[in-house]
């Protein structure tokens, strides 16, 4: 097959949007992980619940503009995250990682099957007018929805950098992620910050779901794969390094797009997880991680 620039650019764009999409999903998880030190195995399921929320809002009798719906999904998902934090995470926050992992796996089972009982196993599509509109600048076809995802992802990451480095709350979060005990000693209410972080993570997840699900569909077990991909990105990015996790997500998107396009579609997930497992073997601290024992 001769090398065709158009196809290459298409795969590149596809990889970029896929990466942007993964990193939006990962961002919510890596925030809670680095600040609270909790690995949330129910993160993908929160995304799924947000996706169903979008589905319900889009199918309401009153037709709301998409922007309003996105805002509503963000708010509602932040609310779900707060509820989850209060009920299940708050009581075990000081316990071992094992308790964290198993509790959140339990949460994931509950959410997945509640969705199964309510919505059945059939995938639900949530098309918006934007996801079907295709523009083709310079002969490259891209749907407006994908373009929006790219732009929003870039904005969100820029926003997070500013937030973490230049606001008081962001600085507090960074301090807690570096040394929780010292923060408590100097009078920072770490539990309150944990709740806020969870809400922020939920809001970002809601935003991700509201933007991404129109491209695909929502089904009850979609969360598992998202969780594990986000976790893989976090581990590759060097446990708890927010930027590292974002780079790793982009990398995974690129690998999947190029491998799926040029070599074999059936094996694209195998390869992206294979890279993850390989990274673990070669550099257990992650690609972008500092040499710390975690």
């Amino acid at each position: 097959m001769p090398f065709q620039l158009e196809i290459f650019i298409n795969h590149l764009l596809n990889g970029l949007t896929l990466g942007a999409l993964y990193s939006l999903v990962t961002l919510g998880l890596v925030l809670t992980f680095s600040v609270i030190g909790i690995v949330n195995f129910a993160h993908g399921d929160l995304f799924m619940v947000a996706g169903y929320t979008l589905f319900l809002l889009l199918n309401m009798s009153i037709e709301l503009p998409y922007v309003v719906i996105v805002a509503l999904v963000i708010l509602l998902t932040a609310f779900y995250a707060v509820v989850i934090e209060r009920l299940a995470i708050h009581p075990i926050i000081e316990k071992s990682w094992r308790t964290h992992a198993i509790t959140t796996i339990g949460l994931s089972i509950i959410l997945q099957n509640a969705a199964l009982a309510i919505f059945s196993a059939d995938p639900r599509t949530t098309p918006t007018s934007l996801s079907n509109t295709v523009i083709s600048p310079l002969g490259i076809r891209i749907s407006v929805q994908r373009l929006i995802i790219l732009v929003v992802a870039a904005l969100v990451f820029a926003g997070i950098q500013v937030f973490v480095k230049h606001t008081k709350l962001g600085k507090t979060m960074r301090a807690i992620s570096q040394n929780r005990e010292m923060c408590q000693v100097v009078g920072i209410n770490t539990r309150k910050i944990a709740l806020i972080t969870f809400a922020l993570g939920g809001a970002i997840t809601g935003l991700a779901a509201a933007l991404i699900t129109p491209l695909f569909s929502v089904y009850n077990s979609m969360g598992s794969m998202l969780t594990i991909k986000s976790l893989a990105a976090i581990v590759m990015g060097g446990m708890g390094q927010v930027n590292g996790a974002i780079y790793a997500s982009m990398l995974m998107g690129m690998i999947e797009s190029f491998f799926g396009g040029y070599v074999s579609f059936a094996y694209k997930d195998v390869v992206s997880f294979g890279v993850f497992v390989l990274v673990l073997f070669i550099r257990p601290t992650g690609l972008f991680g500092k040499k710390v024992g975690l």
């Binding site: 690995v39 299940a88 009581p91 075990i92 316990k95 990682w97 094992r98 308790t99 964290h100 992992a101 198993i102 509790t103 796996i105 339990g106 949460l107 994931s108 089972i109 509950i110 997945q112 099957n113 509640a114 199964l116 009982a117 598992s224 594990i228 976790l231 893989a232 976090i234 581990v235 446990m239 059936a266 094996y267 997930d269 195998v270 997880f273 294979g274 993850f276 497992v277 673990l280 073997f281 257990p284 024992g293 975690l294």
Partner: protein, 335 residues
């Protein structure tokens, strides 16, 4: 030899369990009972092997179904293509899965805690995806079918019996559970078991007193892999079909529920959890599949798992022993 009452205690529950399980089919041989019993045996072996790693050395491996699946696929090849006998298949599967566990362990034990859990989960997903996609090797989503049933040939018999009835399977399977229990007890109640505990509680301190953590982790991982590999081999010959979904994540979830709701790292806990959660699903289904959809059952499981984690971190076993202690009027703290 001085055998005190105290040292016999860990053997009471498994022996009672085995006696009940061995005798039950004499009273009730319905297909349902046997099905439940075979289910109990399978899950108990699985849970015990899982607990060797998760409960005793504290490395929660979410990839144990890999050994099960590969053991099963290996058996399909060995028995179907090479005509190896059932015991041979189980032994070869056990051997290769132990070897695989050693190699995987060398790599995966470089990472710890939650990274280990995530890494092993990643490996499990890769394996399942490969099994799904490599249609020439595994039959893909259409499964590998037609694994031969075991044939039993004892020295005094003229010709081999083809094992095909559930009751035959059950009694051929039970010794495997006994073996697993013996291995579990022999390992955990010995010096090795105490080293496991030391490694689980504090690796640095363990190595300070001369216990090399990696060695003990590998021992536990290889043992677990061998047992699960043999189990997969057995299962392949029992149901004669192997699918990629046989190593799906729900298996890991069930194992987590059994072991952690029962009580991780304690034989009585694993037995309680394993028995309850392998009996519960068929009963719930039999009682009212109309009223009790699988989804509700899973929700209930999730609630139990979260509830146990929040309110009784040492599981049902911890609760039981607390009640027993109060019953006996002994108030021992921190045992």
């Amino acid at each position: 030899m001085n055998i005190s009452k105290q040292s016999l205690r860990p053997f009471i529950l498994p022996i009672v369990l085995l006696v009940i399980m061995a005798l039950l089919p004499l009273f009730n041989q319905s297909g349902f009972t046997l099905n439940v019993l075979i289910n109990v045996v399978r899950w108990l072996i699985f849970a015990l092997a899982f607990d060797l790693v998760a409960g005793h050395i504290g490395s929660v491996s979410l990839g144990q179904p890999i050994f099960y699946g590969i053991g099963a696929y290996l058996t399909a090849y060995l028995a179907g293509k090479l005509g190896l006998g059932w015991l041979g298949c189980m032994l070869v599967s056990a051997f290769f899965m132990a070897l695989l566990a050693l190699l995987a362990g060398l790599a995966f034990f470089r990472i710890r805690h939650v990274t280990f859990a995530i890494g092993t989960l990643g490996a499990a997903i890769v394996t399942q995806l490969v099994a799904n996609s490599a249609e020439k090797l595994t039959g893909g989503a259409l499964c590998t079918t037609g694994v031969p049933r075991p044939q039993l040939l004892l020295p005094f018999m003229e010709s081999a019996i083809k094992i095909s009835k559930p009751i035959q399977f059950y009694y051929l399977f039970l010794p495997f559970l006994i073996l697993t229990l013996v291995v579990y007890l022999a390992v955990t109640k010995s010096r090795i078991g105490r080293a496991f505990t030391a490694v689980r509680e504090d690796e640095v301190r363990a190595s300070a007193v001369g216990i090399y953590p990696l060695r003990y982790k590998l021992v536990a991982f290889a043992l677990s892999g061998a047992l699960i590999g043999a189990l997969g081999s057995w299962q392949a010959q029992y149901v004669t079909v192997i699918c990629p979904s046989d190593m799906a994540q729900d298996i890991t979830t069930s194992l987590l529920i059994m072991v952690f709701v029962g009580g991780a790292g304690r034989l009585s806990g694993v037995i309680i959890g394993g028995v309850i959660f392998s009996i519960l699903p068929p009963f719930l289904q039999a009682v009212g599949s109309k009223y009790f959809q699988p989804a509700y059952q899973q929700i209930l499981y999730g609630l139990i798992l979260v509830g146990v984690m929040l309110y009784m971190p040492d599981g049902l076993d911890g609760l039981a022993s607390r009640i027993l202690r109060r019953f006996r009027g002994i108030r021992k703290e921190g045992v």
